[in-house]
Symmetry: C2
Subunit: 429 residues, 2 copies
Amino acid sequence: MNLSSDPDRSGQPECSSRHGGRHKATSGVHFTVSVVLPAGGTGERTGLVTPKQFYMFLNRPLISYTIQAFERLSWIQHIVVVVAEESIALTRDIVQRFQHTKVRVVSGGATRHRSIFNGVQALDPGESAATPDVVIIHDAVRPFVEEDFLLEIAMAAKENGASGAIRPLVSTVIATTSEGYLDHSLERGKYRASEMPQGFLYGVIHQAYQKCSEFDFDFGTECLHLALQHTGTRAKLIEGPPTLWKVTYKRDLAAAESIIKETLCRSACVTSDGSKRARELGRCLQKVMASLDMELDVLPEPIGDASRLSKEWNFIKLFVNGSGLSEVEETVKALEAANRALLHPVVVVWVRLDTSDGMSVSETGAGHLPLMELASAAKLQNILLYGIHFLLSEEDAGFSEGSVKRLAELTYTLIHDRNALLAGQMLCA
Amino acid sequence: MNLSSDPDRSGQPECSSRHGGRHKATSGVHFTVSVVLPAGGTGERTGLVTPKQFYMFLNRPLISYTIQAFERLSWIQHIVVVVAEESIALTRDIVQRFQHTKVRVVSGGATRHRSIFNGVQALDPGESAATPDVVIIHDAVRPFVEEDFLLEIAMAAKENGASGAIRPLVSTVIATTSEGYLDHSLERGKYRASEMPQGFLYGVIHQAYQKCSEFDFDFGTECLHLALQHTGTRAKLIEGPPTLWKVTYKRDLAAAESIIKETLCRSACVTSDGSKRARELGRCLQKVMASLDMELDVLPEPIGDASRLSKEWNFIKLFVNGSGLSEVEETVKALEAANRALLHPVVVVWVRLDTSDGMSVSETGAGHLPLMELASAAKLQNILLYGIHFLLSEEDAGFSEGSVKRLAELTYTLIHDRNALLAGQMLCA
């Protein structure tokens, strides 16, 4: 169960080659698990035209992040995404474009329950194969679910027939009179908010839906309730982390984006031109960046980052008194060849250290146009290239704390923000 | 009641000179209203060291935004901020630094109810003066409350004795068994989340607290419930907008910041050097920026923005084939003199349009060092200055759509992001 559960370190869906086998149990899950992701929302509450599951975060729709959160787990077999009829083509495009391999897209019903039931039925492959032991139901707009918690939900569903995530209530819940006055307030400690994911034995969720009424299908909101009512299965409730929250309002889009950005900027790979001075700068930078919570892996060689291509989202390339743009270009080409930026934009920061004292300011512009051109081409491959001209006076030969801090902060903000509109800019530190 | 309710357009707290008078009723509120803001939270749920009410957004702590949301309203008399003993000095510093004039800082109790009661008691000035008719209780960590809604709450409290904001439930609420299994789920339509603000006649909230038990003080969470229980006052419930939400988790900090930034980037004032070409660029820019939802006010004169200093948060200054940095400096000095950036950072974007065909790239660096110096000084006054070198070839004399779009997007991202780390940079469009 110690597979990497960090979606943002795995360049490709981790499990694309493994998901076919039943009971291969690389993870210790000795039963089969598949997923139903209802994604039929219209996004009314965000106040946006695009339904929130299709809203773009760093060039990728939210739903692809959620799919990825499941797809990377070897013990998840299939993911059925249930969307409105009119979104099927769009969803299939997304699945293809981001190379999702475990996904089947099916059409939803008029209500949430009808959609989920369609998804559950789609997991029944007919006589020639078996249905999964456990079905996890999750929302397409809750992208940050982690492996540990999914395992807990799956295990509890296997054992109890049903399981679900809960969270403490943030607000007091009150009952209102029909005239809009306070009737009574609930004792907060006795109640919980029911969240997603939920897990069910296939038979339990299938039977619950087969037995439930048209009224349940149209107005019911809680799958756990249907399982209790129609199959007598009492769900095990498990408290989940706050990151399980549902992207509901426009502000949640900013919150989700900030979480994705935070995850991508925790580390970077630094290469230098091999000179003593560049290596020294690398070490100084490493110290300051650590205080900004970014871990730098400083390599001695100019193109020593080849082996890091499959792991890192961020590259910093240091050059002293020379261009180095051709080495930057090599890195960009290697990233492109590895299809590295398929899931997240990769950042490359080209730092030109200039110690020629009294160098005319006009020199700072050199290299800008070629950088702009290279960055424009790289951007098409989701690689964001920025330049920093790090200008030091002779007196500052020892890298003063202030100057390295300026460089570090500028580098940090470029890597953290991943602002595509600034790609190709040559900044000054 | 048509006072501007947009916190982000009022440079200074709007009401600093008006708040003394009772019943002045510039707004049609014919009774007195004061506010209690409990701000004693420890921020455990955000996962941050700083309690969330003191977390900085664009150089200003969250609590100052919330204070400002009330202070700008002429019909609000006093604001009592209740903080933990150890935060009193910090809070007083904030009040002084951001020139809040209606605020009194008092020490809180061990629980939320004890703190609110302290705040309510602090509104009783003794025999020589009168207590307010209505008390509004709000959270320090809900900064986006608008005048219209506050008026509704105040009016309903005056009429009914108590009133409170509600929101629909986002998740189903469920009751759990003592072993952690589902007991039953509540019918979502019958319940609401109780939010803030709440309003009370002074007598009602004062009496409720005087009569309530030690248990209520220690474990009660709902003021409306205490009013019902101890004074028989049935609160009127009013559905509020989603922006009333409480900054609770770390992700909410990003959400709050994005809302503040969105509010600040809706418009900008453009001045040109008076040349035909610059005026033409201003008009082109205006069209493209409108598609990005930013309204540009294009003035014909180079320093015609003096009258806009008190209204705008963003300034764009266009210069053709010349520096213009001294005019930019004048604008910065005028903003400083007006103390314009007290509440929000002001952005100044200096655009140098260059049409000298075949100009050497080395030229693009000119003006960078003086810009950097000016920007460093301006940043200390919360003014963020950026430069854009807009390089056009002769063939592009007519401002092609693509080139203006590039300039517009770059300008937009600088204004929207308000990234202080990028101040002083000279970008290329």
